[in-house]
């Protein structure tokens, strides 16, 4: 394999069924159901997916949900805000550990 993260792999996602069709079918059925319109709209779910894609840094998901967000009627302003939400949670998740550090220092220090 010449490099990791081949864009062609996204379209081949379904071939994951080759090793275990039953589990793949369960996953894809569930996945499809998750993104159906419900208490949240398809657009809102696509924006959440886009944010999570950035949090888990999945290039396949970023491509897929950039496209889906546009097709569900979101615009760049909304998509950028979603990415900032992901970034803020990631940054906040690091920073809030600082309280653990602080308490350690307060206990161990004089």
């Amino acid at each position: 394999m010449p490099h990791y993260y081949d864009p062609a792999h996204l379209a081949k996602f379904g071939t994951i069924a080759e090793g275990n069709k039953e589990l793949a079918d369960k996953f894809f059925d569930w996945y499809g159901a998750v993104f159906k319109e419900g208490a949240l709209s398809e657009r809102e779910k696509a924006l959440i997916a886009l944010a999570v894609a950035h949090a888990v840094q999945c290039p396949y998901c970023i491509d897929a949900y950039s496209k889906t967000c546009l097709e569900k009627g979101a615009d760049l302003d909304q998509m950028t805000e979603a990415v900032h939400v992901a970034a803020a949670i990631r940054g906040g998740a690091s920073l809030v550990h600082g309280v653990q550090m602080l308490e350690h220092v307060q206990k161990a220090g004089m």
Binding site: S41, R43, E71, K72, G73, L76, D77
Partner: protein, 370 residues
């Protein structure tokens, strides 16, 4: 030669103040894409595994593609416009001063209308309000008891000469179908020119003040949304809910319904697809998403489209591609020779651009079709 337009009107539509101009018409730029046959050639030359529209129709049972009963006469009164949006399928603009329907052709349309079952007259352009016979046409249709639609670019309503139109429409029960690509500024301005969004919101406020957009069926305000880019229209019902909330919250504007259309790969949108490197992928997407359930409700089945010079077409897109209705033994496709019985059994003319109307939820001048 079409109806002469007053010089003052021509100067007004050419001015930036009358409406944003995102580009110039293909015609004005002398683009190689300006002639319809070149647009068709570009589409036909694309390698597409599923690119045969008639085969796609036949595969879902439409071996002969013929109309349903006629419901709508769509009259394109001209290509003159105070805007030059980047996606315009008409290649309209302030330079299109020759192609505007004259009074004689308008009277031929009315005579034809009287011989049909059509309950609706859908008036489009360009900016149809710029045609000197526009108000005459509306009044004649209203007096015949027809439902009249004005396809409005919104910004024209802020030009002083046309500022009385919201009230004038309201008195006559005209439905106003307004182009607004997105409920937010960025996308609208990027497609239709800087400043469009603010002008559009102001025009919507004036329509609201004239009684439009408050649930009164005689003053129906419809927004027509189309994607700003190489992707399909969003789901219409969800978009309507979200836009209603967004426009009310952020701008205090209300409307009655939203219809969503896909962009056709012709004219200025075709140019953009080519220049941005999106054409192949967009056409693959349209052909892959061919939806058999979208076919029966296509506008070409319940609408006839008349061009400024009186030629009849199956739809406004065919009109822009110079594809007239098929007539037996090469007979006339002009409205002066209008024969409802012959037209009712015609074969609808299709080419690759038709995949734009059958993709996803389907797309026509009335919105989604599936």
């Amino acid at each position: 030669m079409g109806a002469p337009i007053e010089l003052a009107v021509l100067e007004e539509v050419a001015s930036p103040a009358s409406g944003p101009k995102g580009t110039k018409s293909l015609r004005a730029r002398g683009s190689t894409l300006a002639p319809a046959e070149e647009q068709l050639r570009v589409l036909d030359a694309l390698p597409l595994a599923k690119g045969d529209f008639d085969a796609a129709l036949a595969a879902c049972g439409w071996r002969e593609f013929r109309p349903a009963p006629l419901e709508i006469l769509q009259i394109n009164v001209g290509r003159l416009c105070n805007m030059t949006c980047r996606h315009c399928h008409v290649d309209a603009g302030p330079d299109r001063i020759a192609e505007n329907m004259d009074r004689e052709t308008i009277d031929l349309c009315l005579a034809a209308l009287d011989r049909t079952t059509a309950h609706t007259v859908d008036i489009t352009g360009g900016a149809p309000e710029l045609n000197p016979h526009f108000r005459y046409l509306v009044d004649q249709c209203v007096s015949r008891g027809k439902h009249v639609i004005d396809r409005c670019n919104l910004t024209i309503l802020l030009v002083p000469r046309y500022a009385d139109l919201p009230a004038w429409f309201a008195e006559r029960g005209v439905e106003v179908v307004c182009s607004l690509p997105h409920c937010r500024k960025r996308n609208t301005d990027s497609q239709r020119g800087n400043g469009t969004f603010e002008k559009s919101i102001e025009a919507l406020r004036r329509l609201n003040a004239a009684g439009y957009g408050h649930g009164d069926l005689r003053r129906r305000l419809t927004l027509m949304a189309n994607p700003v880019g190489a992707f399909l229209a969003a789901p219409q019902a969800a978009m309507e809910r979200e836009w209603k909330a967004d426009l009310a919250r952020n701008h205090g504007v209300t409307f009655d319904r939203l219809i969503a259309l896909n962009n056709m790969p012709i004219s200025r949108f075709l140019e953009w697809l080519l220049e941005s490197g999106n054409l192949q992928e967009y056409m693959e997407r349209l052909t892959n998403l061919f939806n058999p359930a979208a076919v029966a409700g296509l506008m070409c089945r319940n609408t006839l489209s008349v061009s400024w010079d009186g030629t009849l077409h199956d739809c406004d897109f065919n009109q822009m591609l110079d594809i007239p209705v098929a007539t037996p033994a090469g007979g006339s496709a002009h409205i002066r020779d209008f024969d409802p019985l012959v037209l009712q059994v015609r074969r609808i003319q299709t080419r690759r651009h038709c995949f734009g109307c059958t993709a996803g939820a389907g797309s026509s001048c009335g919105g989604a079709t599936a």
